[in-house]
Subunit: 715 residues, 2 copies
């Protein structure tokens, strides 16, 4: 192990080399100044270390949280500036904690499953230790033997023991709370020269490798670096992984932790970045919509990923001093950025398999045009435990820098005391998790798996197909367990075609059942509704759409009807661009124009608009849609162009399970998508229509006329 302190994220050797360089970086200097003023803001007077009393959000909770951060940041400031006042501050705080900690019982407001001592839950205690041990490490050399003995014996050892051997139900769990615990304990082991603590952190309390950090690295991320709870929790889960991995690299480089599982740590970081649009994470599952690349977790992750890979694309993701971490990686990132080495991050299409072996569904992103171009997100992952939503085969669409087809995210005002103490609101369960809150098919006005997540955790969508080639991108998957007796299959394409202004989406959704059902397909769009076909009759008074499974939260603003095979079309305007959603179905359709917000006694919900395309008493329901971005509205310059859809006709043909979708534009151009659903590239398929026979090999083929180059996965 490293002989000198510090030895975690900061290491003595690097600091010596870099201490004179940081003033050359404007960004890093600003980050240092920001840390100074942050500490000044958090420590107004003498250190406050109150007896634990309040739950999350309360005074003692927030004070201890802030103290943990102060210890780490003041330690880093001491290392970079050499100013002894910061070392003194850390020493005072740690001695105060050492004075109190051994006497603490479990927290008076403890959570039942995983109580803490300083905090109501042990998770917060792990986070505190992760920070505090870094601060101690940073000032270790300034302390005399007596202080070290006191701080280690009365604070760090008992806290590490409390979080490991005394809380094995958390420590040995393959879960992000477990990762925080193993990271905190392992980092403490390095600082206290305690091989045994480190070994336990890596291998679990039984030292058999079935639990602990390495098992977590193997099991919590898929081989593509996807975290089963989705991007919002992926960000949070990432933090202890990257911190502890960096500490392992510094102390035991022979473990080659960044090579572990084909470099899963850096891969998970890249995946997290890909799971964002315009800086914000795709808000699937329980997600706060404000979260994105501008979070402390990504600050550390990106700096460390840049340090590990040297990839200059990471440099382009951070540009504010508040995002520069006070480590050698942070400084090197700032210097490289300031030297002009940043390249754009390569946002691109990705198929992220879910599950430890990659066999539990996938989240697919189809993109073209880089960071702010179109992005289609198709969710066919595993459920993701208690924070998962019942949204299999759900999709979202982004374009022109904005959200166009939206996911509601979580119903929660994070940390706002007046809103249920900042916790998940009741409407998170009754609305946000329910199937009808998503852009996927609802059967019989209930939610997938009846809304039972334990049941949902046992299966995942199957039959995935993903193919990306120039101007044709396709993803497809089936879901057979969410609604017993009904199977669902959805295929989505992102296409570029001279017949239409911009890349556009084709969606083919098929439901098959032996019994007749009510089907509802919601589309939550962002923007102002401009025109609809059929006309929507507005209601003179509003009632909720239903009574359960989220329907009770939708006001029915208006309704319309359409015949089977008739093209319906809905145009809205968002940020200066028009979007038309054209739909045909094989049954008579009723359309509800809805707004979120009914049955909401504490006005917790956002009034988002949506359309619900429904059909009653149908066994096999087939729906084909095109989402077409078009034209431009410029209010400042007073012009509008192409506010009308170019889609003139939409048709679907099927033949023994094969499908053909034909799109005709007003200019007379025709595009056809043929689907066999057979991944074998050598099998030949055909569908005959009045216009002729379409023949292809393999799963799919896109046919164009005249000015369209034919493409398929046939080679």
């Amino acid at each position: 192990m490293a002989a000198e302190h510090p030895r975690l994220l900061l290491v003595a050797d690097e600091i010596r080399q870099l201490r004179n360089q940081w003033p050359q970086s404007t960004l890093f200097s600003a980050a240092i100044e920001r840390a100074r003023s942050r500490i000044d803001g958090l420590v107004a007077g003498p250190p406050e270390v109150p007896l634990p009393k309040d739950p999350g959000g309360g005074y003692t909770h927030e004070r201890h949280k802030a103290n943990g951060i102060v210890v780490a940041q003041a330690g880093a400031l001491y290392q970079w500036t050499g100013e002894s006042a910061y070392a003194d501050l850390v020493r005072q705080l740690l001695l105060a904690y050492a004075g109190m900690y051994p006497e603490l019982d479990l927290h008076p407001e403890r959570k039942e499953q995983s109580p803490g001592r300083l905090f109501w839950q042990s998770l917060n205690e792990s986070v505190f230790l992760t920070y505090a041990i870094q601060g101690y490490d940073a000032i270790h050399a300034t302390l005399d033997a007596q202080d070290r003995e006191r701080i280690e014996a009365r604070l760090f050892r008992p806290m590490a023991d409390f979080l490991s051997v005394e809380s094995p139900q958390v420590f040995d769990r393959i879960h992000n709370h477990g990762t925080w615990a193993t990271a905190a304990v392992g980092m403490t082991g390095y600082v206290l020269d305690d091989d045994d603590l480190v070994e336990m952190a890596l291998m679990g309390t039984a030292r058999d490798g079935k639990a602990g950090f390495l098992a977590q690295l193997r099991q919590l991320f898929s081989p593509d670096g996807y975290y089963l709870e989705g991007p919002y929790y992926q960000r949070y889960a990432l933090m202890p992984f990257v911190l502890f991995a960096k500490a392992i690299e510094h102390n035991e480089p022979e473990r080659e932790i960044f090579e572990y599982r084909s470099g899963i740590v850096a891969k998970a970081i890249r995946t997290t970045v890909q799971l964002s649009y315009a800086g914000l994470f795709f808000p699937i599952n329980d997600a706060i919509r404000d979260k994105g690349l501008d979070t402390v977790e990504l600050d550390y992750a990106i700096a460390i990923a840049h340090g590990v890979t040297g990839d200059p694309a990471f440099l382009s993701l951070l540009d504010d001093p508040s995002n520069i971490v006070l480590t050698a990686d942070g400084l090197r990132l700032a210097l490289a950025r300031e030297a002009g080495h940043a390249t754009p991050f390569p946002f691109a299409s990705r198929h992220f398999r879910d599950g430890p072996a990659g066999g539990q569904g996938a989240l697919t992103i189809l993109r073209t045009g880089g960071a702010l171009g179109p992005a289609l997100v198709f969710k066919a992952t595993s459920h993701g435990m208690g924070h998962g939503h019942f949204d299999r085969l759900h999709w979202m669409f982004y374009d022109n820098g904005a959200e166009i087809v939206a996911d509601y995210g979580a119903a929660r005002f994070l940390n706002v005391p007046q809103k249920a103490g900042g916790r998940y609101l009741p409407e998170n369960k009754t609305w946000a998790k329910q199937t009808v809150a998503h852009n996927t098919l609802v059967v019989d006005a209930t939610s997938q798996f009846g809304g039972d997540y334990r049941q949902a955790d046992r299966s995942w969508p199957t039959g995935h197909y993903y193919h990306v080639e120039d101007d044709v991108q396709i993803v497809s998957a089936a879901e057979r367990t969410a609604y017993p007796g009904t199977s669902l299959h959805r295929t989505m394409l992102l296409l570029e075609w001279p017949g239409l202004d911009h890349p556009f989406v084709i969606d083919l959704l098929k439901a098959r059942s032996a019994e007749a059902h009510r089907f509802d397909l919601p589309l939550y769009f962002a923007g102002a509704l401009i025109e609809t076909q059929p006309a929507i009759d507005m209601q003179a008074s509003l009632r909720p759409l239903g009574e359960a499974y989220g329907y009770e939260h939708l006001w029915r603003l208006g309704e319309g009807r359409g015949a089977a095979d008739d093209k319906l079309a809905f145009t809205w305007l968002k940020d200066g661009r028009f979007y038309t959603y054209s739909v045909i179905a094989n049954a008579e359709i009723d359309v509800a124009y809805v707004r979120v917000g009914a049955t909401d006694p504490a006005f917790n919900l956002r009034p988002e608009p949506g359309l619900i395309i429904g059909a009653e008493n149908v066994r096999n329901f087939d729906i084909v849609a095109v989402l077409e971005p078009h034209g431009e509205y410029n209010g400042a310059r007073e012009y509008t162009i192409r506010s009308d859809s170019q889609v003139a006709r939409l048709q679907r043909f099927d033949d023994e399970g094969k499908d053909l979708v034909v799109v005709k534009t007003k200019d007379g151009a025709t595009l056809a998508v043929a689907l066999s659903y057979d991944p074998d590239p050598n099998t030949a398929h055909a569908i005959r229509t009045a216009a002729g026979e379409y023949r292809w090999r393999g799963y799919h083929r896109v046919f164009g006329d005249g000015h369209y180059e034919e493409r398929s996965n046939e080679r």
Copy 2:
């Protein structure tokens, strides 16, 4: 007159001096490139000059509009680049128009009041001429005598005659349509060396100065540069004023047009800029909310204002090549900006008197903290003719870069064909103009003046008081005619005070009547409602709030009640900051939580939220409110601070028409505002309360305790 061409906005001498300089400016070079590609976009093949057929938005209308711009821009490009292709393009277009124009009858889709020939209304024809004459001027030297004769005799002379002597009802009108006509005709006079046309443009068809450009300059703007229809139309009206003024300056500098009426042209431009927040105009009256400093009118106005005044604050307002006009002023602005001379525009408190002599009410802006700090807008202007809203004593509030208390603006999707052809929507009259759509008192659920604008145009609010001094800013006005038998008086203060986080608003509104009435005070807030006192009972089904005067467009989402003198409080969250509106009234209060959008068959309305504080059967209604910005919500960094209001108590005392408002904070600080409503600074006033006697001189005084410096207008 200037001997050489060009001689309007571009003049030959300046071009010669500057032609070699423009490549040094990145901004101007980019503007040149942008103009090139714009012309390439507008002129795909040979010039198209179709026979007039379509109304606004239709093909021939848009084609002729575009051709006018192409003529002007190609002319400017020819002047700056010397490329003869641009001169040829202008020549071809003008000859094509000369071939057609004399044969044209009135437009087949003509508007009754002011028909055009190329366009359905003569306004468009004036705008066309304003552009086209600039292009002709720019290429004049390249044409032979025969072309000149043909273009002048068959296009410019007949068009100028058509817009002046043949349409005196528009030309001689003191109205923005008249200004477009006089500007177009006057500029044509300069280019055609026709003194008589110029004289008529300046003095009206009767040459007596009762009409024409100078009369318009005297009568359309107030002495403070405020235009009676409000900022949205002020922007539009400004364009012909600044273009023609610049042409006059170049051709007849002895007129000292920029000195006219104490420099009203530059003053009107400064006022227009002050009437904006975060780049967008305050959307009072019929206003499209997208409009702001980023409009072609302001591009010209700002460049010309910078040219006239040399004020470097104008440089900071434009930073995009698309906003740089291709004139000498545009180039000098770009060069000065690139030389680093820009200073921030001094956004500050202003009291803009309305009416030609300044005696018809006023629009007041109270600001502190510059461009993105708090701004309170108080509207007590004249009505503003057909585009005015029935909103006397209405207010809006901006803070932290965002709209906090909002004006709906107009109900219109400008130029979107599907939305009533892009014209004002029916809901503009039934909702947007009505009193209940604004943050001012509604009496008996009707609109001011019964919604009759001719009646409203005859009077204006009176008794204005405006005083700005460091941390106390106050505005006050009365309205006695909008609701017969009821007089209204409203006083608003923007205060800075150590007792509260941020500058905050105090609002005292008094209604006096001999009869009992229903009173409603709406507050349209931007953001998510966080907490209310009293509790709002959400409705299980929704009905409109009423049947007429805009009430039919409000869904009643919920309701609550409060006793007289009880403090009500409503907290919302907008862009990371909390806002609490605390209210007391002298009567029992009912509160409706509403959302715009009822009775809206074509879903034209935006679903904005509002609160309506109402009282039934009251003769004298007094309401006092505090709007307090506080705390911070940061979702990315996961913290929330001071989400609770600091206002503990709100009291009002009155004594023989004098008022005292007392605000107490939870920290125990007290602030009191005393109002005598007597502008004489020497008269002494007093109000006695249980806490002691407050004594002051003059209209108002603000009393603080301990840590607040007392201030008033007493000196």
